[in-house]
């Protein structure tokens, strides 16, 4: 295959913004059920839209038409950011749709809420992906064929679920502790289900743009497209593919317009196409065109976050684990609640960003964690989130009982009530009969007189017993009362 001889560059950009929570005080619990800081969310999104999404999309669209299909990129948009575009910046969504229509842009499936569901269980993860796919189809008219997990979290098991769902490829971090001597610049496959191709991020080249681009104390500053491409070219025969993955906000937001990041983006394809044997490919195209060189073993989950490339950015301390486990302890109830309002909040509360803000690594290696962080410190993030979650739980309890045990209690309580109702009805009837009996008695002859009081007494006793122990004796009592009633 001719393309297989060629080297490929895969550019992949992640687009996500969470619904940040407003300051939610504990005394609002049970009264106030709106959790989001609309002003902050809107102003942040509008700012990023005008500084990053819109200009960058425009540049990419121009590049695609200029290079006539030779420039290709991959995106993933979280379901939450799509919701935010619809609310605050529909023109961004339109511009992504335009990009989708060029046929040179691939969109990946991902978790709808940018959630950690994959770490909880398979069913939740799959549900998140399928909600996201529906959104992609609805708003971008695009059905993804490859997938990525929140923050590039990946393990053998998660990969196998992706494969079973029919996706051909996924992306994750080229973490040193996973790769060892191996290179991220080749295609790998999942160790449980080799059908799933795995692309690994070249973190050096990616972070050169994402983190170091404007760093004046960096030895390679200033970074030009030529310099950057010469590094890619230098990878030479030792690589098939170069995976450059980063947050889309790198363009214009993390690296401001003034740093020249947009010029860099404009010139990069030119230089690559003219001066190197590399071509641009999207994630699925690479999966189609290359053969995996080896199986990748990732027994425990990795991610692209922080220096450790593990889960500690979200589940690293006690606050985070407490919050995550509290959240997902509610999921079974949420499944039964059947309320759109609750389902929506449930989605937004799952966003991994909430846990990211609780990271105590904030204290040491803070800058990234502090980005658009509405909280002063992790403790505040935790308190606020837990207050919101407590209110959510209160609402949930009102709609869906906490567990099967509660449900049983509720059912029995309802049964008792109907029984009580029945008993009081029957008792009324009984007193009617008694009255009748008295009338009869006054009229009747003596022998009947002895029999009827005894019978009524019996009835009264039976009635009492049933009202006291309605649950245990419900069938028996029903029989007796029914029998009496017949009499």
């Amino acid at each position: 295959m001719s393309t297989a001889q060629k080297k490929a560059i895969c550019l992949y950009f992640q687009v996500h913004q969470p619904f940040r929570l407003r300051r939610y005080r504990f005394f609002e619990m049970g009264h106030e059920h709106y959790y989001y800081d609309d002003f902050m969310n809107e102003s942040i999104l509008r700012k990023i839209a005008s500084d990053c999404y819109l200009p960058a999309n425009k540049i990419i669209l121009d590049l695609i038409s200029k290079h006539k299909g030779k420039f290709r990129v991959t995106f993933s948009l979280s379901g939450i950011v799509i919701d935010q575009f619809r609310l605050y910046a529909p023109e961004v969504l339109a511009s992504f749709k335009e990009l989708a229509e060029t046929g040179c842009v691939e969109f990946l499936a991902e978790t709808n809420s940018h959630s950690l569901a994959s770490l909880m269980d398979r069913e939740r993860f799959e549900r998140q992906i399928s909600i996201h796919t529906e959104k992609m189809v609805e708003y971008l008219g695009y059905k993804p064929t490859s997938v990525r997990n929140t923050e590039l979290i990946y393990s053998d098991e998660i990969g196998s679920w992706m494969a079973d769902m029919g996706y051909k490829a996924t992306v994750t971090e080229g973490a040193k502790h996973i790769l060892g001597w191996k290179s991220p610049n080749f295609l790998y496959c999942n160790s449980i289900n080799p059908k799933l191709k795995v692309l690994l991020r070249n973190y050096t080249l990616s972070d050169d743009i994402a983190f170091r681009f404007s760093n004046k104390s960096w030895s390679s500053y200033p970074l030009t497209a030529e310099k950057y491409v010469s590094w890619i070219k230098g990878l030479g025969s030792s690589s098939d593919i170069v995976n450059i993955f980063m947050d889309y906000e790198t363009f214009g937001e993390h690296q401001k317009k003034e740093t020249g990041i947009f010029d860099f983006l404009k010139h990069l394809p030119d230089v690559v196409i003219k001066k190197t044997p590399f071509v641009f490919m999207t994630v699925s195209e690479i999966a189609d065109n290359y053969q995996p060189v080896a199986v990748l073993h990732v027994p425990s989950p990795i991610s692209w976050a922080d220096e450790e490339r593990d889960l500690t950015a979200w589940m690293g301390n006690e606050l985070q684990t407490a919050a995550v486990s509290k959240l997902y302890s509610l999921s079974e109830q949420v499944n039964r609640c059947g309320s759109d309002q609750l389902m929506r909040d449930w989605g937004y509360l799952q966003s991994s960003d909430h846990f990211y803000y609780m990271s105590t690594k904030f204290f040491s290696d803070g800058t990234v964690h502090a980005y658009f962080n509405p909280y002063e410190n992790p403790y505040q993030a935790f308190m606020n989130y837990m207050n919101v979650l407590s209110d959510f739980e209160i609402r949930l309890k009102a709609v869906a009982p906490a567990n099967v045990h509660d449900e049983e209690v509720n059912r029995l309580a309802a049964a008792v009530e109907t029984k009580d109702h029945l008993i009081s009805e029957l008792r009324e009837k009984l007193t009617k009969f008694e009255k009748k009996g008295r009338i009869v008695r006054t009229k009747a002859v003596k022998p009947k007189r002895e029999k009827s009081p005894a019978a009524t007494a019996k009835k009264a006793v039976a009635g009492k017993a049933t009202s006291k122990k309605p649950i245990v004796k419900k069938t028996a009592s029903r029989k007796t009362t029914a029998a009496k009633a017949k009499k």
Binding site: F27, A322, M383
Partner: protein, 431 residues
């Protein structure tokens, strides 16, 4: 290097943060190589020596030398006691009261008691200034008799002594600002005290402040060259109360504690207001306001008016180990100070494994990471933080764990080294 230090209190009679801080610093300095400290204190406080003071009267000023050997360090510190009627640091408020004519008694000053309701004389103001003057006279005597390289004076009452010692000896003067009158008075500054502070600052070769908060006040309100002012944060002594028994709790209620003087500066009313919010939503919690002060009665009435006194308790002044017992019983410690130059007590709470909520208007807030920081007026945030710590065990555990670790790193040794560097700098500049 020999340091002639003018302090205010010395153990076992520590009434406020100043005594704790200057004692801690002295111990830290004594542990440094080639450093000796001569500590001068006026004595007039509930001591057995109190009798001697009243016997000698104000006219004669005997000076007595006493070797104090610290357990921790092999080197002795010379402690010189100046007998006088000076009242310690806790009392500027009372001094205040008096100068404003709020207390108009005619009795002669005999003793002070710690409850804050002190038997002051109407002419005490003049007498206090007299004492300060006398202290500075004694300082001259000491300065001419002692060998030393540098003078270090703690807080305004000791500044004149420092200035006098400098005048006699020509040695450089370092003054240590633990508080300014702006903190004590809430902005209603006494011009006499201000002048004395200003004179001390102007005369000093270097000014040490306990926080940047105080540093800013010194620079802005006293018009001092910023280069002359340096912040050295206080530290905290390792706890030696671990053997204390904490009374067993026979109830499940959580305890939220305010501990300190009940004065305007400490913001007790905000604590009560926060308590009201918490109590309206949480049944199993009790609030304790420990300490005494001129606002105590008002606070009791306030709590009563809010109808929360069944859950809101006042202990009155706590002495000695009771303070630590109270802390160890607490689930949350709150310091809502309106203006707090430093604030050592949250550090002691953290040592006792108690999560702390401190106001952003305290110097210690600059230093601490593992504490909730709220504006003193933001009672909703305060209430929310109290609720959060009481309700979410993970949060409380994190605060306790990280807080303990953090506070254990705050050593007087480090602060003393910093101070010693300042001494060296000053000596280099002046020689």
């Amino acid at each position: 290097m020999r340091v002639l230090m003018f302090g205010w209190e010395f153990p076992p009679h520590i009434a406020g943060g100043l005594g704790t801080a200057s004692y801690g610093l002295t111990r830290g300095l004594a542990a440094q190589p080639d450093t000796e400290v001569i500590f001068v204190v006026p004595r007039a406080y509930g001591d057995e020596d109190q009798s001697i003071v009243s016997l000698i009267g104000a006219n004669t000023v005997p000076v007595e030398f006493k070797k104090v050997r610290f357990n921790y360090f092999s080197k002795p510190i010379d402690k010189i006691e100046v007998f006088s009627k000076l009242v310690p640091y806790t009392d500027p408020e009372d001094f205040w009261k008096m100068t404003r004519g709020e207390v108009a008694e005619t009795d002669v000053l005999v003793t002070t008691n710690k409850s804050g309701k002190v038997d002051f004389t109407g002419s005490y103001g003049a007498s206090l200034m007299d004492e300060i003057h006398k202290y500075s006279m004694v300082a001259q005597v000491i300065a001419s008799e002692q060998e030393f390289d540098i003078i270090h004076a703690h807080d305004w009452l000791a500044y004149p002594a420092g200035i006098a010692a400098k005048a006699v000896s020509g040695k450089p003067l370092v003054i240590h600002v633990h508080a300014t009158d702006f903190d004590r008075s809430g902005g209603n500054v006494n011009p006499v005290v201000y002048n004395m502070e200003k004179e001390g600052m102007d005369a000093a070769d270097k000014i040490i402040t306990v926080s940047n908060l105080t540093r800013d006040i010194v620079i802005c309100k006293y018009n001092i060259n910023p280069d002359k002012v340096e912040t050295v944060y206080n530290a905290v002594e390792p706890p030696h109360h671990s053997e204390l028994d904490v009374p067993e709790r026979t109830y499940d209620d959580k305890i939220v504690t305010f501990l300190g003087r009940i004065t305007m500066q400490k913001g007790p009313e905000y604590f009560i207001e926060a308590a009201r919010i918490v109590l309206s939503r949480m049944p199993n919690v009790r609030f304790v306001m420990a300490g005494s002060g001129d606002m105590m009665e008002r606070m009791i009435r306030h709590a009563a008016a809010l109808r929360i006194t069944d859950r809101f308790h006042f202990t009155g002044f706590l002495r000695g180990n009771d303070v630590f017992t109270m802390l160890r019983m607490s689930d949350v410690y709150v310091m809502p100070s309106v203006s707090e130059p430093f604030g050592i007590s949250p550090l002691e709470a953290m040592q006792s494994n108690v999560p702390v909520i401190i106001s952003k208007q305290s110097g210690v807030a600059e230093l601490l990471t593992h504490a909730v920081k709220v504006d003193f007026w933001d009672i909703e945030a305060m209430a929310d933080a109290i609720y959060g710590i009481l309700t979410y065990p993970a949060l409380s555990r994190m605060f306790i764990m990280n807080g303990k670790e953090e506070v254990d790193k705050l050593k007087w040794d480090k602060a003393a080294r910093h101070v010693k560097n300042i001494y060296n700098e000053v000596l280099k500049q002046t020689s």
